[in-house]
Amino acid sequence: TQLLEQSPQFLSIQEGENLTVYCNSSSVFSSLQWYRQEPGEGPVLLVTVVTGGEVKKLKRLTFQFGDARKDSSLHITAAQTGDTGLYLCAGDRGYGNKLVFGAGTILRVKS
């Protein structure tokens, strides 16, 4: 059982559509990060959220941290083909300098 559950596992949409990816847990995290990974490359950090209820925007991407710091969401507005990739959430439980990763959401944006 994953400590961080991501949903959906796979998402295929048309360019211009909106989408939301969820990252849920029963554990509390001191911070939560979102990464994006393209085929053949390592994950790249998109954002870190640290305060319950926090909302961060990165162009067309909106990230939210749940009030209880147990869950997070990533919303993409007007998806583009360049958004295609694997999106990973990762939580820091605040000890041991280790992250726990979700299984990832594969996003495919079709033109």
Partner: protein, 113 residues
């Protein structure tokens, strides 16, 4: 660019042979990590290091060992490779922020036949 390189980038080996993967960083960061990535599992921590000669196990450490004799190099060894260790291996460093933000190398694709 966090200055992380991994070698080799691809390797095919046979069951029972020893394999060593190398991670090299140019940023002098204290924390280094080895993960494996498999479909449906995301990234799972194998071992990590918090300084020269200081290492600890992650959630999937069985069958793997690590060494860190210099700040810049973190080695992952499969003592006797098995087919279940076929995976993509990523090295990461912590960038020094307060939030354990990690920066990843390009990965090593290992196939054990």
């Amino acid at each position: 660019d966090a200055g992380i390189t991994q070698s080799p980038r691809h390797k095919v080996t046979e069951t029972g042979t020893p394999v060593t993967l190398r991670c090299h960083q140019t940023e002098n960061h204290r924390y280094m990590y080895w993960y494996r990535q498999d479909p449906g599992h995301g990234l799972r921590l194998i071992h990590y290091s918090y300084g020269v000669k200081d290492t600890d196990k992650g959630e999937v450490s069985d069958g793997y060992s690590v060494s860190r004799s210099k700040t810049e190099d973190f080695l992952l060894t499969l003592e006797s490779a098995t087919s279940s260790q076929t995976s993509v291996y990523f090295c990461a460093i912590t960038g020094g922020s307060d939030y354990n933000e990690q920066f990843f190398g390009p990965g090593t694709r290992l196939t054990v036949l």
